[in-house]
């Protein structure tokens, strides 16, 4: 029944999906946190830049960004991300696109986490004589981190699903393999079920786990 699987590297394709997810998650966490820091900073110009970035990037389809990294950045401008062969170049371009896109959502999640801390808390902290680093370390960030777990988990799962878009520039991840397989094999239903189950295995446990975690660490107000 599963003869048609022979000759296809199913696990390898899902491994690429996982790699795309993990690397982009780390990258977008860093870039997104930086953007959030800009958006809450006291410097109006940085705030403006952060706001503009988020509003523009969130409203462009991820597909446009990913296809642009290949057609625009690589083929037109010759940005090859320090790689020689096409597989690596496309992979890195896809990661770049995913980071650029996902960071906007990370930024919003982090910012909303900071905004959940009531101003009164900080005023109280200042009143007892804590300085700015202490306020940040002892009062604001512990509460912000806790309320940010849930939204960040949503972003991570959305990112996992979004890695399929990398298929548009030929990164050999799960969706690309699925398209190849349904073109060549006469087992449409079975193939689709396999890939669906593969993605459910990636997204559902993460969703349940992080959902439970975010409930556990949530600040009771």
């Amino acid at each position: 029944m599963f003869d048609f699987l022979e000759g296809y590297d199913l696990l390898g394709a899902f491994w690429v999906t996982v790699q795309l997810t993990v690397i982009s998650a780390i990258g977008s966490l860093i870039w997104g946190t930086l953007l959030a820091a800009m958006r809450v900073s006291p410097v109006p110009l940085m705030r403006g830049f952060g706001t503009a970035y988020v509003n523009v990037v969130r409203n462009i389809p991820l597909t446009v960004i990913i296809v642009f990294t290949s057609l625009g950045l690589f083929q037109t401008l010759g940005v090859s991300m320090g790689a020689k062969d096409f597989t690596t170049i496309n992979f890195r371009l896809a990661v770049l696109g995913l980071i650029a896109y996902t960071a906007a959502f990370v930024c919003e999640a982090v910012r909303s986490g900071i905004n959940t801390v009531p101003v009164g808390q900080v005023e109280a902290a200042r009143a007892i004589g804590l300085d700015f680093p202490q306020v940040l370390r002892l009062i604001v960030l512990p509460q912000a981190f806790r309320s940010v777990v849930g939204p960040l988990a949503n972003v991570l799962i959305a990112l996992t699903k979004n890695t399929t878009v990398a298929a548009a520039i030929g990164v050999g991840e799960a969706a690309l393999l699925m398209r190849e397989m349904i073109e060549n094999e006469a087992q449409l239903i079975l193939i689709s079920v396999i890939f669906a189950v593969g993605f459910i295995c990636l997204t559902l446990p993460t969703g349940l786990l992080l959902g439970r975690l975010s409930k556990k660490v949530a600040v009771k107000r």
Binding site: V40, V64, V140, I157, L204
Partner: protein
């Protein structure tokens, strides 16, 4: 907006203000360096030549042959998906609130299944299924596939939006309906649903943005001739003006979606202020939460 104390910092004094000026200058320099570098690399590849940009400003044919038909297909795909997914979503959302455990369970399983799968997988499946089991013409098949994939995914998200909308209403609404002798179906049809529609409007508009963005997948992977797909013929026709074509397409997407996002935020503010209604709202930001598989803490705000 004049300086006001926020969570992180107080109103700046003279020293802080001097420091902020320094940061502004440094950031400005970094930004200028970035822009300089981008302009240089564009110039180097001749992407800034006026002949590559002029078709969009001087030649109406660039719009009538490529962009507007593409935009039209994007809008048709998104509108069809929304119109079909909404009643389906309402059906499943109400089924998840059923008193019968098996109805609840079945609807819940379907919703969790389709929320957990990337929409591209659903589109690829729909495309192959249409070519194998139906005789839809190959020219219209991409539209069918895109809409089907979007409907399957978004119906499950909208089911959660509808459920959150109904749950956001104060319990007193159901109690009052029971007190005047309404049956379950009557309560749902005459009391809960009409009010929840208003409550979930911001979330619906917000989800429409997601749908519009996802239509671009069809252009890249299924040969659906929407806005993104118009980049290739344009850059082939106007002397490899890839950067210019992408810029125009991206700007159109941003304007369209920004208008929708702003509208959703405006609706939300209005509903939260409203004196006449219960004040229950499913916020525009809630859809990210509702699109994630797994149970969550209720994302909808109750009456305030």
């Amino acid at each position: 907006m004049k300086e006001r104390p926020t969570v992180l910092y107080d109103v700046p004094g003279p020293r802080a203000r001097r420091r902020n000026v320094l940061y502004t200058v440094l950031f400005l320099l970094a930004l200028a360096a970035l822009i300089w570098w981008v302009v240089l690399s564009l110039e180097e590849k001749n992407q800034l030549e006026w002949s590559k940009w002029s078709p969009f400003f001087t030649d109406s044919r660039a719009w009538t042959t490529y962009i507007l038909p593409g935009l039209e297909n994007t809008l048709i795909g998104a509108a069809l998906a929304m119109v079909i997914a909404l009643p389906l979503g309402a059906l499943f959302g109400i089924a998840r609130l059923s008193d019968h455990r098996w109805v609840r369970g079945a609807a819940g399983t379907v919703v969790e299944f389709f929320r957990a799968i990337p929409v591209l997988i659903l589109m690829l499946f729909a495309n192959a299924a249409y070519s194998e089991f139906t005789d839809i013409r190959p020219e219209t098949r991409p539209l069918y596939a895109v809409v089907t994939g979007l409907v399957l995914y978004n119906a499950s998200v909208l089911a959660e939006v509808v459920r959150a909308g109904i749950l956001s209403l104060p319990a007193g609404q159901t109690d009052a309906a029971k007190a005047i002798g309404m049956r379950k179906g009557q309560t749902m049809a005459h009391v809960l649903l009409p009010q929840s529609v208003t409550a979930m409007l911001p979330a619906l508009v917000s989800q429409l943005v997601v749908i519009v963005k996802d239509t671009a997948l069809g252009g890249a992977m299924l040969g659906f001739s929407e806005l993104l797909a118009s980049v290739r013929p344009m850059s082939a026709n106007y002397g490899a003006n890839t950067i210019a074509s992408f810029t125009v397409v991206a700007v159109i997407f941003v304007l369209l979606n920004f208008a929708l996002t702003t509208f959703a935020a405006w609706l939300e503010r209005r509903l939260r202020r409203a004196k006449k209604s219960t004040g229950a709202v499913v916020g525009a930001d809630a859809v990210e939460e509702l699109a994630t598989p797994g149970e969550h803490v209720g994302p909808a705000d109750g009456p305030k």
